[in-house]
C-alpha cells in the first residue's frame, strides 16, 4: 500500500554545504536524487523512511570532468552518461550499461549516485564500477574521503557510507585494454537483471597500478571481472580473473568462478541458471576480448 505523501517531509538545501550541515544535524534524513527507487519504495509501502532531504537541485553534484581522472558527479543521470563523449571514450562499458537501464524516462531521472547508494544487488552500474576499479567520493560536513569500490559494500544493501555522508562523485581511473559488458535481464527493456557481468582485459605491458595492485610482470595479461545479482553484493571474481591472467584454461577459470558466487532462486530466476550463465558469460567475455 502506498504511503500518504502528507506524512512525508522534505528539506531543500540550497547548496551542498547546506545539505551536509542538515545531514550532520539530522543523520536520519534520507537523501533523494532522481527518486526512481525512492518513490517506488513509497508506492509499495516497503520503505519506512518519512523524512527526506533533496539533492536534485544541487548542481555541484552534477557534471562529468576529466582532470586528469574521470569524475562523474553523483547526480549525473544515465541520459547524461550515455551522451557524454568522455565516458563513451573512457568507459564504454558504463555507457553500455546505462543504455540498458529501465527505459528513457528512468534514464532521464535515475542517477549514478542513486544506483550506488541504493545498493541493490541488481544495480547495473555496480559491476561496471567494480571492474573499472572506481573510487567513490564521500563527503560529510567534516570532510571528504575516497573509498575504493571493492571496499564500499559491506553486505546486502549495506555500505561504509555513514548516514551523514553523501556520495558526491565517482572517479574512474584510466582503463587500458578491452572492456566488456553484458546484462541478462527479464526482458529487453524495463528489466531487472538476473545476472550481469563487466570485464576488463588489459595487456600485461600496459599495466597500471589499479585496484588489487598485483605484480604484473609474470602475467600474460591482467583481468578484472565483476558480476552482479549472484550474491548479496556485487562480486569481484578474483580467482577466475587470476586463472585467466596467468594464462589458464577457460574451463579452469569457470570452475574457479563457480566457487566465488552463490546465486539464489528468486522471483526472476534460479540459482542454477545464474551459475550456468555466469560461467557462459565468462567464456563469452574471454572470447570477445581476444
Amino acid at each position: 500500500m502506498p504511503v500518504d505523501a502528507r506524512t512525508l517531509t522534505l528539506q531543500r538545501p540550497r547548496n551542498l554545504k547546506a545539505a551536509l550541515a542538515m545531514l550532520a544535524k539530522e543523520p536520519t534524513l534520507t537523501p533523494i536524487a532522481g527518486c526512481t527507487d525512492v518513490l517506488v519504495g513509497l508506492h509499495f509501502g516497503t520503505s519506512d523512511t518519512r523524512q527526506f532531504i533533496d539533492l536534485w537541485s544541487l548542481d555541484e553534484l552534477r557534471g562529468i570532468t576529466s582532470k586528469p581522472i574521470l569524475r562523474i558527479g553523483a547526480l549525473t543521470t544515465y541520459t547524461e552518461i550515455i551522451a557524454s563523449p568522455l565516458v563513451q571514450k573512457r568507459v564504454p562499458m558504463l555507457v553500455a550499461a546505462a543504455r540498458e537501464i529501465g527505459g528513457a524516462q528512468i534514464q532521464n531521472r535515475g542517477t549514478l549516485g542513486g544506483n550506488i547508494a541504493n545498493a541493490s544487488p541488481a544495480g547495473d552500474t555496480l559491476p561496471v564500477l567494480a571492474a573499472a576499479g572506481a573510487l567513490i567520493v564521500l563527503r560529510s560536513a567534516s570532510g571528504e574521503r575516497r573509498v575504493s569500490f571493492a571496499r564500499f559494500y559491506t553486505g546486502y544493501r549495506t555500505s561504509v557510507r555513514q548516514p551523514d555522508e553523501l556520495i558526491t562523485a565517482i572517479e574512474i581511473p584510466a582503463i587500458d585494454g578491452r572492456q566488456w559488458w553484458r546484462k541478462v535481464g527479464t526482458r529487453r527493456a524495463q528489466a531487472i537483471s538476473k545476472i550481469m557481468m563487466a570485464g576488463v582485459r588489459s595487456p600485461a605491458d600496459h599495466l597500471r597500478q589499479g585496484y588489487g595492485g598485483q605484480e604484473a610482470g609474470r602475467h600474460s595479461c591482467k583481468v578484472r571481472i565483476a558480476i552482479g545479482s549472484v550474491a548479496p553484493t556485487v562480486v569481484l571474481a578474483e580467482a577466475a580473473a587470476a586463472v585467466l591472467s596467468q594464462g589458464g584454461a577457460i574451463g579452469d577459470a569457470q570452475a574457479a568462478l563457480r566457487k566465488e558466487i552463490a546465486p539464489i532462486d528468486d522471483l526472476r530466476s534460479t540459482g542454477d541458471y545464474r551459475q550456468q550463465v555466469a560461467a557462459n558469460l565468462l567464456a563469452a567475455f574471454w572470447k570477445d576480448t581476444e
Binding site: 500500500m1 504511503v3 500518504d4 527479464t186 529487453r188 527493456a189 534460479t270 542454477d272 563469452a284
Partner: protein
C-alpha cells in the same frame, strides 16, 4: 455501394484518446463521492472465526450483512460470495469493504483489520482436486478402431501456466445510489452481466439498476466477469453510505485478486499411418479453475472443442475437466481455453512429425480440415474452411521450407502453428442469449444502440461502418450510443469474437429495415416529416445449425476463423534468451471490415501470445501471486516486439455482416506453439510454457 466496409476509416474514438480528452473511470468524480477499499483474506483456505477492526468512526465498514439481496456474484453458478461470510477459499478473497471521503486515508487500511482464522490444508494441484466444476466428453467415431488402424502412436503431455490479461487500465467502478436504485459506471466489457449481478445483489427490480460503461483501457476477457464483483462491492458501500463510491484497484491488487487464464495440462495420444494420416486422436484436458466456478465451464467447453486442432480425423475422444484449487479464480482471457488446447495439439503435431520423420508442413497438409470435412463435434464445414489456404500462404510468405533447411543445427529456428477459432458463443449459446440490437433514426443519420463495448478493439467504428453501408449513408452520419443499460438493448457480452459477426449482423439487418422504411427519403426528410423511429432485431440462428448439449456434438459455432503463424527465433547460446525475430501471421477472417483495426487485433494478439510463450509467468507461492508488480510480471516492451507481418485472407461467411467472422481472439491461439516448434527446430524439447531461459537451459537436447 460499400464505401465504409473494407476501408480503414478514421476510428470514432481516436481523437478523444490521443488528446487526453477521453474519460476513463478514474477520471470521473461525483459530488460527495467516497472512495472504497477491499479487505481481503490472507490465507488460502479456512474459516474466519473473529474479526478485529481498529478504525475511527469516519471509516464506514461493510460486510456481507450489508448486502440487501443475495450474497453471490450472479453469473453461471451461484457459488462465489460477493463478500466471504465464514469460509475462505483463496488468498485475496474479499471479506470487508471500507469507505472514506479521503482516498489516501485508505492507504494501508488492511493493517487496521485483523482476522483470526481456523486454517485448513489448501490444495493447489488440479490433478488431485476432489471438486470438479465441469466435465465434458466429446466422442466421434470409434476411438478403439482408430487406434487399431494406426501404425504409429505418439503420446505427449503439454502444460500451460496462468497468464494475466494485463490491460493497462486496472479495474475500477463508481456506484451512485439513488432512491431505491443504483447506477454503476465502470471499466467493463459486459454491461448486462454487471446488471444481472447487481439485480441479484441488491434485490432491486431490473429497472432500478443501471450500468454505464465508461471508456475502457483494455479488457482481453479480464473485464468480462470480474467487474460484476467490483460493481457489487461499490454498490454495497454506496447503498450503505447513500453516497457515490469510487473503487479503483491499484496494480498490485488487480494482479493479486482478479482472474487469470486457466493453467492447463493436456495429454495427447495420436494414432497415425506411416505416411502421416491421423487415424485416432485421444485428448485429455485438465484445467485449473481456481477457487470458484466463474466461467470455468465455458472456458473448458471452448478448450475441448478446439482440442483436436484444425484436423480431420474420424475417431476422436476428448475428455475435459475443470477442477477447483485454492487459488484466486481463473476466468475469461482472450482465446478462452483454446490457446491452451491448441498450444498442446500444435506442439504435439511437431513431435508427431518428428516421430514419423516427415515435414511438419506436409503432416498438416495431409490432415488439415477442408470444406466438407467434419470437426471433432461432427460439425460439417462449409466453403470457408480455410486451414489449407492459410497454411500455404504462411509457408510461402515466410520462406518456411528454405529457412527450415538452412537453419538446421544453428541457433536460429523457425516453427509454425495452424489453428482455428469458433466465432460467437458455443453451441446453443447464441440462441439462449437471444441478443438484441437497435438502430434509431436521427436527424442526420442513425444511432446505434447496443450493449457491445468499445474496449480498444474498434467496436464503435466497425459497427458504424456496417450500418453506414447498409443504410447507404456516409460513415460520419452514424453515431454510437455509449453502452447504458437504461438506453441500449442487451446485445450480449463483448466476448467470444462475437461482436462483429453476431451483433454486426443484427445491426446490418436493422439498417436494411430502416433503409426500406426510409424509401426515397433522406434521414433528415423522414425525420422532419414523421419523427424518429427505432428498429430492433433479435438474433436468429442461421437455418440448419444444430447442437446437442448432452452429447456435445453438432454445430459448435456458426463459423470459424483460421490462422497460421510462422515464428522465427534466435536462441542466445550464452544466456538461453529467445528473441523472436519475425512473425508471419496469416488469418482468414471472412471479411476485414476495417483492415487496419483487424490487423491491429492480429498484431496485438500475436504479441500477447509471444508473451505467453516466452515471458509471462505468474509465480504462485502458497496460493498467492508472488510477483504481483509490473516489474516482476513480465510482458513484452517495445524492445521485445518483433516485426509481425500480417496477411488477411477473405472467405466470406454467408451469415456474417459483409461476410465477416470473428477476429479478436484467434490471434492468441497460434504464437505459443509456433515458438515452441521453432525451439524444437533449434534442439530444445519444451512442453511447458512459458519457455523461460531457465527452462530452456534444462531442456537442451
Amino acid at each position: 455501394m460499400g464505401r465504409a466496409v473494407g476501408t480503414s476509416v478514421r476510428r470514432k474514438d481516436g481523437d478523444a484518446k490521443v488528446t487526453g480528452a477521453a474519460k476513463y473511470i478514474d477520471d470521473l468524480t461525483f459530488p460527495g463521492m467516497l472512495f472504497g477499499a477491499t479487505i481481503r483474506a490472507t490465507i488460502p483456505r479456512g474459516e474466519i472465526v473473529n474479526t478485529h477492526i481498529d478504525l475511527s468512526p469516519d471509516y464506514i465498514v461493510a460486510d456481507y450483512r450489508d448486502i440487501p439481496g443475495k450474497n453471490y456474484v450472479a453469473l453461471l453458478d451461484p457459488d462465489q460470495p460477493c463478500l466471504a461470510e465464514r469460509e475462505v477459499r483463496h488468498v485475496a478473497e474479499p471479506v470487508l469493504l471500507v469507505a472514506h471521503a479521503d482516498r489516501r486515508a485508505l492507504f494501508g487500511i488492511d493493517e487496521q483489520v485483523r482476522f483470526d482464522y481456523r486454517e485448513l490444508a489448501p490444495n493447489y494441484d488440479p490433478e488431485t482436486s476432489e471438486t470438479c466444476f465441469k466435465q465434458i466428453a466429446i466422442d466421434k467415431g470409434d476411438i478403439e478402431r482408430g487406434f487399431r488402424d494406426a501404425e504409429v502412436v505418439v503420446d505427449g503431455e503439454y502444460r500451460t501456466s496462468h497468464q494475466e490479461q494485463l490491460y493497462i487500465e486496472t479495474n475500477g467502478v463508481i456506484a451512485v445510489p439513488g432512491d431505491g436504485q443504483i447506477t454503476v459506471y465502470g471499466s467493463l466489457q459486459c454491461p448486462y452481466y454487471v446488471h444481472k449481478a447487481l439485480v441479484v445483489l441488491t434485490g432491486f427490480t431490473p429497472d432500478r439498476v443501471r450500468v454505464i460503461q465508461t471508456e475502457t483501457g483494455g479488457g482481453f476477457g479480464g473485464k468480462e466477469e470480474y467487474p460484476s464483483m467490483l460493481a457489487c462491492h461499490a454498490a454495497i458501500l454506496a447503498i450503505k453510505t447513500g453516497k457515490p463510491v469510487k473503487m479503483i484497484y491499484d496494480r498490485v491488487e488487480d494482479l493479486l485478486a482478479t482472474t487469470k487464464r486457466h493453467p492447463a495440462i493436456v495429454r495427447h495420444r495420436t494414432g497415425l499411418t506411416r505416411d502421416g494420416r491421423i487415424t485416432a486422436m485421444a485428448v485429455d484436458v485438465l484445467m485449473d479453475g481456481g477457487a470458484y466456478a466463474t466461467l470455468s465451464a465455458v472456458v473448458l467447453s471452448r478448450g475441448v472443442i478446439h482440442a483436436a486442432g484444425p484436423y480431420r480425423c474420424d475417431h476422436i475422444r476428448i475428455r475435459g475437466r475443470a477442477m477447483m484449487t485454492h487459488t484466486p479464480p481463473n476466468g475469461a482471457f482472450r482465446g478462452f481455453g483454446a490457446p491452451q488446447t491448441q498450444f498442446a495439439v500444435e506442439a504435439h503435431m511437431d513431435r508427431v512429425a518428428e516421430a514419423l520423420g516427415i515435414d511438419p508442413v506436409r503432416l498438416r497438409e495431409v490432415n488439415a480440415l477442408r470444406p466438407g470435412d467434419s470437426t471433432a463435434t461432427g460439425q460439417k464445414l462449409g466453403k470457408d474452411a480455410s486451414a489449407l489456404p492459410v497454411l500455404r500462404e504462411a509457408v510461402k510468405r515466410s520462406g518456411f521450407r528454405r529457412k527450415r533447411r538452412e537453419w538446421k543445427g544453428t541457433n536460429r529456428g523457425i516453427g509454425l502453428s495452424l489453428f482455428f477459432h469458433g466465432s460467437g458463443f458455443t453451441g446453443a449459446g447464441e440462441v439462449k442469449l437471444a441478443s438484441k440490437a437497435s438502430l434509431e433514426l436521427t436527424r442526420s443519420g442513425a444511432r446505434i444502440l447496443v450493449a457491445s463495448t468499445e474496449i480498444g478493439q474498434g467496436t464503435t467504428t466497425m459497427l458504424a461502418q456496417i450500418v453506414a453501408d447498409a443504410l447507404e449513408l456516409p460513415f460520419a452520419a452514424i453515431e454510437v450510443q455509449q453502452p447504458d443499460t437504461d438506453v441500449v438493448p442487451d446485445s450480449g457480452p463483448t466476448v467470444a469474437s462475437r461482436t462483429c459477426m453476431i451483433v454486426g449482423k443484427l445491426l446490418e439487418r436493422c439498417a436494411r429495415d430502416m433503409r426500406r422504411k426510409l424509401g426515397a427519403l433522406t434521414p433528415a426528410q423522414y425525420f422532419t416529416r414523421h419523427g424518429a423511429f427505432t428498429v430492433t432485431k433479435q438474433y436468429e440462428p442461421p437455418a440448419g445449425l444444430a447442437w446437442d448439449d448432452q452429447r456435445y456434438s453438432g454445430d459448435a459455432y456458426g463459423s470459424y476463423a483460421w490462422g497460421c503463424n510462422v515464428v522465427e527465433i534466435e536462441v542466445d547460446p550464452v544466456t538461453f534468451e529467445v528473441t523472436p525475430t519475425h512473425v508471419t501471421a496469416v488469418a482468414e477472417i471472412g471479411k476485414a471490415i476495417h483492415p487496419l483495426m483487424a490487423e491491429g487485433q492480429i498484431q496485438g494478439g500475436t504479441a500477447q501470445g509471444l508473451g505467453y510463450a516466452l515471458l509471462e509467468e505468474v509465480v504462485m507461492r502458497d496460493g498467492r501471486m508472488a510477483n504481483a508488480q509490473l516489474t516482476n510480471y513480465i510482458i513484452p516492451t517495445p524492445m521485445d516486439a518483433p516485426p509481425i507481418e500480417v496477411a488477411m485472407l477473405e472467405r466470406p461467411y454467408a451469415h456474417g455482416p459483409y461476410g465477416a467472422k470473428g477476429v479478436g481472439e484467434m490471434p492468441i491461439d497460434g504464437p505459443a506453439p509456433a515458438v515452441i516448434n521453432a525451439l524444437r527446430h533449434c534442439g530444445f524439447d519444451i512442453r511447458l510454457i512459458p519457455a523461460t531461459p531457465e527452462r530452456l537451459m534444462r531442456a537442451r537436447r
